[in-house]
Symmetry: C2
């Protein structure tokens, strides 16, 4: 996808650096061969390495991928512990911003709404994922709209089924990762990779006028969320800068769910810090 | 890739039908969920089915994928036998043309030449893959050119190493599939899928002026190849029609290698017919 211009647009040449652990070196070289064999017009070079310094040399954008695919029953956080040391070393080289990926959840919410309304997914916009990239995330459609022949209508009015929107819709999006694993016996691959590209494209090339996306960014205290945690907010981007969409009206149900996922993130932050100090 | 517009261009909406065997139904549904979750603007609908009639209903373009990934030591032909019945049933519904995929080999040849010359792959054009999509294929660079600051130069002159071109280059391209399997412990995936998209894009949307691609098409007797076998030729496409590039000068080494791969295809044709009659 990156070499096809999905991430940075059809006119941006790219050099792909791939870093993996030593036991995967031969397979990584196989991936490098396949990238060369695909003869991508935008791909200027490929570096495949197990050396973190070489991997990070001159890099503009770093995408960090979980070291082991999730199996049934495992959460993303558990598998992330496997690459803690790796993360620490990367962070030394990466003075840039670090986001997490609610874009996948955001796309999942768009997908569920468009399926329910039997409209095309590109006609739905401005859903929000609040909070953690976990099952406490809160997919919020209170500000989402759908294109109709007469303009735009609120998703809540169009669906006209508050019970579904306030219960089944929310749990479907929250549990979607587990549902995919159950079906595929493997965690999301295509949709996660696609969301990573969407996220970086939105960030670097900007969001369309009037449309926001969900990004996990440092909280600045907006919407009463504790500053300093990485929390998914509605965000617009322009010229490589993101800014949180402010001033949205938050109802009581939303407030409760936004606080619950913030609480989980605070607990995870405490856990993460305790690991960093422990050994 | 299809849902991103790689196959049919960035303005062509698509409906993807996916057919698999019964034991893979749940995993197939997982893939469908991931396609929905990716919120692709061009993807109008997804059909996931184990029913061949439903799968083929209203389909414009069919891509047939080997049922089992090749393992080390297996050839593509052997694994194709697993899906013979499936192929027969598909062919009943598919009155269109059937190609095979030397595009992958063509891209591999471009990749090897650009690596050797240390130029960008999009600066090299008009390599040819002659014959079978197997290790007897003949990658021919006698008509290939590379862009230079002064225009275009023949690849043979630019590389100025006939020994490499006539031996190592040829075997590297011929054996590339096996090399990838050795490294990845799995057959080519990314590069094969990418080549399938390239092939159909070239076919449907046309080849750039002055550039040909390699396609496995029914021989019309061009270059002395027996009519009626599916053989890879240099081909240009316009408005959905392919035509073999004629009049290229064939040297003695090329003639020999083109005939050897034709001989193998004749033998495979005989074998295939014997299977169809046997039970």
């Amino acid at each position: 996808m990156i070499a096809r211009g999905v991430m940075l647009g059809p006119d941006q040449p790219v050099i792909i650096h791939m870093l993996d652990i030593e036991p995967a070196a031969e397979a990584l070289n196989g991936v490098k061969m396949e990238l060369i064999d695909a003869a991508f017009p935008l791909l200027k070079d490929v570096v495949a390495t197990t050396n973190v310094v070489e991997a990070c040399q001159g890099v503009n954008i770093a995408v960090m991928v979980g070291g082991f695919p999730r199996k049934e029953g495992a959460s993303g956080c558990q598998s992330s512990q496997h690459q803690r040391t790796y993360l620490e070393r990367i962070c030394t080289f990466n003075s840039g911003e670090k986001h997490h990926l609610p874009c996948l959840d955001h796309n999942r919410a768009l997908g569920q709404i468009s399926e329910k309304l039997n409209v095309h997914v590109s006609d739905v916009r401005n859903v929000i994922i609040w909070g953690n990239h976990s099952s406490t995330q809160y997919p919020d459609i209170n500000h989402a709209t759908v294109k109709t022949t007469n303009g735009e209508e609120s998703v809540r009015d169009a669906i006209a089924n508050d019970n579904w929107l306030n219960t089944e819709f929310i749990t479907t999006v929250q549990q979607r990762g587990a549902t995919i694993i159950k079906a595929r016996k493997l965690s999301s691959a295509l949709s996660a990779a696609s969301a990573a590209c969407d996220h970086i494209r939105d960030w670097v090339l900007g969001t369309p006028k009037g449309t926001w996306v969900s990004m996990g960014v440092y909280s600045d205290g907006s919407y009463g969320i504790q500053p300093g945690i990485i929390y998914s907010f509605p965000v617009t981007c322009e010229k490589g800068q993101w800014s949180i969409v402010n001033g949205l009206k938050i109802d009581e149900l939303s407030r409760e769910k936004m606080d619950a996922t913030a609480k989980e993130l605070m607990e995870e932050k405490t856990l993460a810090y305790s690991c960093l100090i422990d050994d």
